[in-house]
Structure formats: structure tokens, C-alpha cells
Amino acid sequence: MHVPESYQFFCPVKVNSGSKALEQLPSELGALGVERPLILGRRDALRRGALGTIITAFKESGMAVGLLDAVPADFDVTVVRQLANVYRSKRHDAVITVGGGSIIDAAKVLNLCVSEDVEDVMPYTREGVLKTRLKPFVFVPTMTGTGYETSKYAWMKNLTLSSHFLMPDLVVIDPRMVRGGATVEGAALAMAALGGAADVCMCRVKNPLADTYAYAAIQYVSENMAGAMGRARDTMSRMAIVNAAVMAGCALSNVPPGPVRRLGTIAGDMFRIPDGICMGLLLPYILDYYTVHHGYFMADLLLPLAGFEEYACTAHGLRAQRAINRVYRIQHELFHITGGAIPRTLKEAQVPRYMLQDIAERAVMQGVPDIGYDECLTLLTHAWDSSPVAFDEKRG
């Protein structure tokens, strides 16, 4: 393991995960001096009874709990203003967000507004403007999300906010909250975690602590994908997937975005495919391409992907390819489990071939490490028709 000449790591997130974790929430909040938490959720996006479970956990706490359960998915500054008005007028002192996706972006922006006492968040789009910790902020994940929930990022319309202080103080992962939900959504979350974590490990600027979070995430996804998504929908496996997504969000907040995140987000946004599915789809091709053409060191990925035994028994020079094959296998497994709902190629994702150039153009504009337009297009072509990257080399 390489320790770089210099690096920084910061993860303010505390994780409480397991049976009856929600019942600890009142005392956790009490320790932070909270008396009037506001719960944010989207009733239409949550399993029936999910919000009730949380509210019940507060029953004997004596806290005055507020609930806003119809936050629109496509929120804007007006929505945040309304939320902030409620927060202030009801004298709330903490936010609890239930479920992943855009609701947590709304919560992050809300927490910024009420903590800094501002209406305009534009000045905060530059990293480093925010200097102090915000008011207590809790995230209760479900089996849906983008993998960015615990990250330092928040998106509102065309704005991107980025600060470690936007990350939740506490994440409460409770088995009762990870049950239910559509398989495709769960798969997107798992692939977002895998893609995001692998992206961290690919980073040229090595960050050993980000790597430890990322390794744990990759291992959990690799070991639990089938159990969580298959017919059994095993609760422990689903807990592991949600844990992985939480860890990936923490890890990727500490390194600059790599090719998996960049390309996944761009293609996802362009074709309205969940980013996670897009990252998962592109992941093996990106790993393959960067290993073959740019000498990226992927051998160590085999350890979390395949476990101690396979890693140790695989010759050093073969590990990268084994790791990549392992990712292909996860992809295929997911494809079969979901009856083809999770695409394995851009073609299966219904991305027209002629649009690959547009993706490549945007990617280069936004900055993908180490590759230019032509290379990016080649990579995307591989991911479109599932031609293995190294094969070209051999043929050439």
C-alpha cells in the first residue's frame, strides 16, 4: 500500500447501522442538544409505514417532531425557501432526511440556508466558502438513491454545492427502512456504490483513508449483490448494500472525480438513466481501458471484489484482469436477476450509437482524467457494443 507524499481526509459522518438503530436516534440527537427535529421525506417514494417507524421511535423522547412528507422531487429555490420558513417558524433545530435521491439535496441546501441564515446559496458554489459546521443533520437511508447521499455534494437545478460541512452528521441504517422498493432502484444504488468506490480507488492522487472506505464498499457490494437483489431479498444483504452506498459517498468526497463518475453522470443525465446504473454499466469498460492504455494499477481491486483467497492465489500480473472480469460478472448477474431491466451496455440502455460523440464531447469539456476526445469515443464504443478493450490490442 502506497502512502502519498501528502493527502487530506475528512469524513464527519457517524454511521449507526443495525437492528433498532432508529430507536437510538432520539438519544443521539439529544446528545447534540436537539429538541425539535424536522423530518423530511417523500411519502410517495417511501414504503408504506416507513415514516411511521421513525415517528414511533420518537414517541417517548419528549421531542417535538415536525414532518414534511411531500417535498417535490424536482425542487428549486422556492421550495427551499418554503422549507426554511417552516424550519424557522416552528423553531426546528435539526433536519432528518428519509430516503435517498433529490430529497437529500433539498435537505442539504435547507440546512445550509437555516444554519448560515441566508436565502441565496450562490456564494456557496465555490468550495471552501463554508467554514463552519452546520446545524445537526441526519440521514436515514432506504434502498434507493444515487450513492451521493452522504457525499459533500448537493445539486439544485443547475447549481452544484460542494463542502464537507454539507455531509450528514449521522447516518442511521435500520433494517426496517431498507426493505421494499423496486429492484431497479436497489440495483442502481448498488452499482452507484460500486462505481463510485472503484472511481476512488482509480484516482491517481492516492488517498489511503478514502481507499479504506472504498474497499469496504466494494467488498460489500460484491458479496451481497445477489442476496440483496435476488429472490430472497435478504435483509442483511440489503443492509450491506446501503452501508456500501454510505461508505462510497464518504470516500468520493475526498478525491477528485475520476472517469467512472464523470462519464456515468454525463451519460446518465443525457439519457435519463439513473447515474448509478450508468456508472455500473461503464465501470468494467473504463477499468479495462485505463488498465490497458494508461497503465492504471487495478490489481488491488481484486481483493475487495473477490476476497482474500482468490486475490492471494492469483498471480500479480493477472489480478487486474481478474478484477475486471469480476465486475463483468456482477453486471451479468444483475441483468439476469432483474430479467434484463439493468442494462449491461450502452446499447441495451437504448443510447443511440450516434450520440456517443456527444457524450465524449461533454466528457472532455468537463474533464476526464488522462484521455482526450478520440480515446473517450473509443472507450464509449466498447461500452456500447460490449467489445472487450484488450481484444483490440491483440488484434492490432
Partner: protein, 415 residues
Amino acid sequence: MDMPGYYEFCSRVRIISGHSALERIPATLADLGAGTPLIITDRGVSEAGLLRIVTNALMGHVTIGEVADDVPQDSDVRIVNRLADIYRQKNCDAIIAIGGGSVMDTAKGVNILVSEDAGDLMQFSGAGALTKPLNPLVVVPTTAGTGSEVTLVAVIKNHEKHLKMTFVSYVLLPDAAILDSRMTLTLPPVMTAATAMDALAHAVEAYTGLAKNPLSDSCALAAIRLISHHLSQVMKNPGDKDGRLALANGATMAGMAFSNSMVGIVHTLGHAAGSACGVPHGTAMAILMPYGLEYNMHKNGHHTAELLLPLAGDDVYARTPVHLRPERVIAYIRGMNRELHELSGGGHARCFKEVVSRDGKSLVPHDMLADIAAAALQDGAIFWNPEEADYDDFMMILEAAWEGIPLDRTRIRKG
């Protein structure tokens, strides 16, 4: 990797690592809204020239409120009170703690008093008494071992009243830990060995204990890999900057692991050997680690087995049959102790009978083992040990660890 029924993990400390990490302190303080730090350290640190390296890095960027370099080896409530007065008099707004466990504990204590604007520490002792965030605290560890830079505990003694106050709260976590290779570059070989083995014991007990969890496991594995790969190189070449930085990183990761998953019998007996006979903590950890693993093997051998990969590397791991891996791990750690003994010119003790004080006197006479075992019964760390242990079990381990012979595993009572 197992999914624990329930776990918590929190490591809110900003880690700043590098060969020039100290130069980042001014910017870090500015981010925390502070600019007038009180520097807390001990004589050893200032005499070794480490204090000067830090103050040079601050020069021109930060107004140093005061430098207090007289923290005793054992943190004491009197010095905490005195330093809190200085902090207030000099209008300080942050603390920089440079040193080992005692300095950090003292700094945490001072920070409680000045942040809560209080005069008596006692009211904040125990768990949960502190809720509000404290003033900025930046710590600079000067040994790669204790992991105090990432722990949420402080122990401060009241020597007059013979009281030991323990403070436990997430607000005690420092805001930033600065891992700079220059801070450990001059650490003598015996100290390098003992502190690194202390860190290794944190990681090993975290990974094999009852309260293990995915994040502490991941930190522990990374820590073990770093320590095992770099320790003997650093012992042979103390000026190896990269190796020193790797050990510092390993110690911090091990600290993150154990502070989120507890420790077990190795620490129970280590604390006891420290309090009963004054055995340095790291030395006790190094000696006891193989015994702890032997004692618990019937319960957690499958976890111990996995440690062979980060410890000995992929070749050894792959070549060793599964059922032999736990024993191989134990043998490997004993091998490390032997190597450290040689590389330190005999200074690193392999067993309790080899532990001597500065003037060469034996610190653990054989007849003191019973006292150590008795003290161990009072230690809370045993709660998280996979196998239960009573006085006789402690004695069995201590006898073997005194002599330096492997534990007779047939004598272990399996509960």
C-alpha cells in the same frame, strides 16, 4: 465480510498527512476560525527539537499565544487547570497539542475547561456529559502508536485525591490530526518498535474482537499492512521518511479501527502490567499480542487467519493451508518481536522477564504476576474479548508471557 447486527463508526478527525503536513496548520486553524493557538507539549518533545519544527511552520502565519512544554508523563488535573488559565489570559482561541497520549489527554482536558468556561473538570467526566462542540484542537502525534489523535477519550488524574477521571464524548475528537514524517524521524529504535507494535495490537484486536465492523476492519487491514511492510525497514534505516510516514498512517488507521470496535484481553493484561509494574504500554502490547490470539483462537481463528495476508503478504498467505493460518499469524508476530529485539540491540523485550527499567532492573519480577492478574480483573477491556477470562486464565497467559513460551492451548477452558 460479515454484517454486524449493530455497529457504530465515527471518525470525524480531519487527517492531514505528508512530509510537509505541519505547514498546513495555519490554514487549518484559519478554516476553524482560529489564529491564536496555545501550544501544549512536553519537555521530551521540545528537547528533541520537534517543537521548533512546528513553531517554524507556524511562524509568520499564526500568533502563538503561549508555549507550555511542561506536561508531565501522567496527565494531571493541576496542569490542566493551570494551562486553562494561561489559555484565557493570553486570549487563545485554539490548542495545538504536540506529543503522545498524555499531552493529548491534557490538551483535551484544557479544551473542556476553556470551551465550557468552567473551573472544575469533574462535572464533565463520564460519558455523555459533554454535548456542545469544543474550541478548535489540532493534534500533532510524535509517536506512531497510541492513536490518541483519533480517539474520543481523555484520562486525567487527580493525584492528590487519587482519582482517575475518564471523559468520553465525540466532541473530544480533535478537529485535525497532523501526520508529518519529521515528527517521528528521530524516535529511538526501541520506542519505534514499541509504539508500532502498540498500533499493530490495536488493529489486531479490533479485527479479531467481538465488536468488529466493516469500517474498522478495513482500517485495521490497511494499518496492519502498512506497519508490517514498513517497520523493519524503518528500524534498519531510521531516516526513512516514507517509511516513517507510512507508520504514522498505520498508527492512525489502527486508532480509527480500535476506537470504533474496542479491544480485548491483550489490552486488559497490558493495562494491568502497566499499572502494576510500570511496563511501557507498547512493550506490553508486543509481548501479549501472540498470547491473546492463541487464547481466543478457538473462537476467532477464522478472523485471525485473515490477518496473514496483510501481515505476511500474498505468497505466504496462498501457500499456507487454511487451518494453519491462525498459527502462522501468531508465529509471524513472534517473529516480528524477535527481529525487533535484534534490530534494537536487545532493547525490545520479547517476554516479560526481559523487560527492564532504565537502570537495568527487572520491571516484572516473577512474583508480581499475581498482582498483574489481580489488576486485570478490574479492567473493562475484557468485556469485548471473544473468550471469557478469569484470574487463573490471566495467570496462565502471564506465566507463558513471562517465560516467552507459547501458550499450552490444551489448557484453555473453552466457554
